[in-house]
């Protein structure tokens, strides 16, 4: 682990938050296999350091928005794991009352603005949240996440242009997990260094080891400070990797088993932090086991709630289409 030293407590928090996402996603995959979760389900396993590190860099009141691989973001924002899992199973206890599903959850309270199913569509929306911040001069920043696939959508560049033009406080976080569904960055992108994608808009960019939570946090701190100082947008390209398929049904023909194993073996964000904690004498096996046990209990409860929460009442079909005009 290279970047600046974090305190033991801070690192244990990161460990705990990353582990929660990992275990949650493993359980979601299991529930999908059992038929409790339907439709699309995009797991975040492998990318945990990105959201945990970035979330640590912001303050309450700052906003977060992402695409459809969003479970990790919601857990990192502090949204209730049971509510997220129950949304995956389409139950009334879900955060969208079962009407949104895996890709569509929100929390006004935690300033999480979704959860968007159209590749790239969250980027102008996140830019608009930053616009609202600037309009109010409230010194808030918006973390706008998107993937290497979305980095080829036109609306991303329309957003870059306006964000730079109006100096909007938005951090564009490109989670480059190297595959847009099954198409590698090499096969889809003329400029493969995605952090350079803002150059013609005069938006600075930085490549970050997205498998190292401390590196992410350090880059996040710098970017947040850049934005809060009124300098406008900034791009962070997180080099990361997803271990699972794009969604649940994935032919896995576009990369080798060995490639995935190599990353798991050598770059896993949780294992590496764990080794750092143990080797540095910052935590004992027992400390970590206590955390593991807590996390398992949280995830087990979430899974039970997600299976026992009733389906939404049929009257819910007709609610939440329009707000009552006062």
């Amino acid at each position: 682990m290279s970047p600046p030293a974090a305190s033991r407590e801070v690192m244990l928090t990161y460990y705990r938050e990353m582990l929660l996402i990992r275990r949650f996603e493993e359980r979601a995959g299991q529930l999908y296999g059992m038929g409790f979760i339907g439709g699309f389900c995009h797991l975040y396993i492998g990318q945990e350091a990105v959201v945990v590190g970035m979330q640590a860099a912001i303050e309450p009141g700052d906003q977060v928005i992402t695409a459809y691989r969003d479970h990790g973001h919601m857990l990192a924002c502090g949204m209730d794991p049971a509510g997220v899992m129950a949304e995956l199973t389409g139950r009334s206890g879900g955060l969208s009352k079962g009407k949104g599903g895996s890709m569509h959850m929100f929390s006004r309270e935690k300033n999480f603005f979704g959860g968007h199913g159209i590749v790239g569509a969250q980027v102008p929306i996140g830019t608009g949240l930053a616009f609202a911040n600037r309009y109010r001069n409230n010194n808030r920043v918006c973390l706008t996440y998107f993937g290497d696939g979305a980095a080829n959508q036109g609306q991303v560049y329309e957003s870059f242009n306006m964000a730079a033009l109006w100096k909007l406080p938005v951090i564009y976080i490109i989670e480059n997990n190297q595959y847009a569904m099954g198409t590698s960055v090499e096969r889809s992108s003329s400029e493969r260094h995605l952090y350079r994608r803002g150059l013609s808009f005069n938006i600075p960019g930085e490549e970050v080891d997205g498998m190292d939570v401390l590196a992410v946090r350090a880059a996040g701190d710098k970017a947040v400070s850049w934005c809060r100082s009124g300098n406008g947008p900034i791009i962070l390209e997180m080099k990361t990797y997803r271990y699972r398929g794009h969604s649940m049904s994935d032919p896995a023909k576009y990369r080798t088993r060995e490639e995935v194993d190599q990353v798991r073996e050598h770059r896993d964000p949780i294992e590496n932090l764990k080794a750092h904690l143990l080797n540095g004498g910052l935590a004992t096996e027992d400390d970590l086991k206590t955390i593991d046990k807590d996390i398992r209990a949280i995830v087990t409860h979430a899974a039970e709630f997600a299976q026992s929460s009733p389906e939404p009442d049929s009257s819910e079909l007709w609610t939440d289409i329009l707000k009552d005009a006062s």
């Binding site: 949104g100 569509a121 609306q155 005009a325």
Partner: protein, 460 residues
């Protein structure tokens, strides 16, 4: 041969304008490219350049003259070496703009005496103005501008963004004066980036602001339709009621004049199809104002479908501080007992004309201006059909899966036994909009089409 210089048209919809300034005087020698005059309409100002070379012999229209008709002779030139004789009145053979008759100013309607003020239709029912209300005459353009200004004064979170809304004062001058009053933080000129600024507006609405997003025309909003539908309309539902999107998308919809297929599309049916949106399409200035104010206050995404040709039309508008028209209510604008004519937006002008023609033949048509397309006020339509037993729906858009198709289905489902004749639709023809003036006229619904349809449903 002397050369006539004619009053040019600045746009296909211009009928007349003001000769704001002459840059030449009698005896001047001019060559092509010289700026000779400035012309002004309610929409724009333009410098007129000379096309021909020669010496100015006559200035025929005074500086400052208003209401100068397009193609009127405004000055005369003689070519070099020509005898300086009082030129006989000639038909222009060479002029700044081709001297053909001005393009049909209102392609959707047959020629008629140009009334300065479109009188308030005789309202026999549902007049929403309190007795004794005073009225002022305003163009639809001014009414829309006032609606935005009033709401921006009332609520600091309301702002306007779009292409040319600020310094240019609006591509169609709807936002004239707003930049001066509210400044560049609240009247925001965007780059040409419809998809981007529509999504940015949605984000700003999620962030607690109340954006008014102007599309220069709805034709360009096709670039942005994903954000309008997938992000603005659906998020409340997808979030289980947490995430409202209080945003207004507005701009001119449908055919202008002579702008061909890509700039003449009517999107009424497209957006009226979408749960999670409200859609209004007013005709009268008072409705334009009152509905836009309601739209800005509404906690949902509201689409205001305006009409370029109607921007310059004048109507009475109630002189009150806070004129509000509720979304979702149609208005019976003329009572009648023989047939119901339903329309919205520019074609309300057509049913008014058709009704006048029908009255001469003793047919009393009841006229309904829908004003809102979603929610659609089917109660008002059905109540009328129960009285007249005959229904003709008039719209500018295409027939297939159109607003008329929807109304026909609803009336068939809910008032079948009240009908004495099949419901008929008068619509734009099922073709892309042609450019040629004669074909364009054929493609749009006309008063004749409406009269023919009424004949059929009344078995006349």
């Amino acid at each position: 041969m002397p050369t006539d210089i004619l009053m040019p048209a600045l746009s296909p919809t211009m009928e007349e304008g003001k000769l704001a300034k002459w840059h030449i005087k009698q005896g001047d020698r001019i060559k092509s490219g010289d700026v000779i005059a400035e012309i002004e309409t309610d929409k724009a100002t333009m410098e007129v350049e000379a096309v021909d070379e020669g010496t100015v012999t006559d200035i025929l229209v005074d500086e400052g003259a208003e209401g100068v008709k397009v193609n009127a002779v405004i000055a005369r030139l003689k070519g070099d070496g020509e005898a300086e004789a009082p030129a006989p009145k000639v038909n222009g053979t060479s002029a700044p703009l081709p001297p053909q008759p001005a393009p049909a100013p209102i392609a959707a309607e047959p020629p008629r005496p140009a009334p300065v003020v479109h009188q308030a239709p005789p309202v026999t029912t549902q007049d929403e103005s309190a007795p004794g209300t005073e009225f002022v005459t305003q163009t639809v353009r001014e009414a829309l501008r006032d609606a935005m200004a009033e709401e921006m004064r009332r609520d600091g979170t309301v702002f306007l963004m779009g292409e040319e809304v600020g310094q240019y004062q609006g591509a169609y001058k709807v936002s004239q004066g707003l930049l001066d009053e509210f400044g560049p933080n609240r009247v925001i000129d965007t780059p040409i980036t419809e998809h981007g600024f529509a999504g940015l507006g949605v984000g700003a609405a999620f962030g607690g602001l109340k954006p008014i997003v102007e599309f220069m025309t709805w034709n360009f909003a096709m670039q942005a339709i994903d954000q309008i539908i997938n992000s603005a309309a659906k998020t409340l539902y997808m979030s289980g009621g947490q995430m409202g999107c209080p945003i207004v998308f507005r701009g001119p919809n449908g055919a202008a004049a002579r702008v061909a297929a890509q700039h003449s599309q009517n999107f009424s049916a497209w957006y009226a199809h979408i749960p999670g949106l409200k859609v209004v399409a007013p005709y009268f200035a008072a409705d334009a104002k009152g509905l836009l104010k309601s739209a800005i206050r509404d906690p949902n995404p509201v689409l205001v479908l305006e009409n370029e040709i109607c921007y310059g039309r004048s109507f009475p508008v109630p002189k009150t501080d806070d004129h509000i028209v509720p979304i979702g209510k149609a208005r019976v604008i003329r009572a009648g007992r023989h047939v119901t004519l339903v329309s919205f937006s520019i074609t309300v002008g057509l049913i008014l004309q058709a009704a006048d023609e029908l009255a001469k033949a003793g047919v009393e048509a009841e006229l309904i201006d829908l004003r809102s397309l979603r929610p659609l006020d089917t109660e008002t339509i059905i109540a009328s059909v129960q009285k007249t037993n005959r229904l003709v729906i008039v719209e500018e858009g295409w027939p297939i899966c159109g607003i008329g198709a929807e109304i026909s289905a609803q009336v068939m489902e809910r008032a079948f036994d009240w009908l004495d004749a099949p419901v008929l639709r008068v619509t734009g023809k099922d073709v892309p909009m042609p450019y040629a003036a004669n074909l364009e006229k054929l493609a749009l619904p006309s008063v004749t089409d409406i009269l023919d349809a009424v004949k059929k449903v009344t078995y006349a």
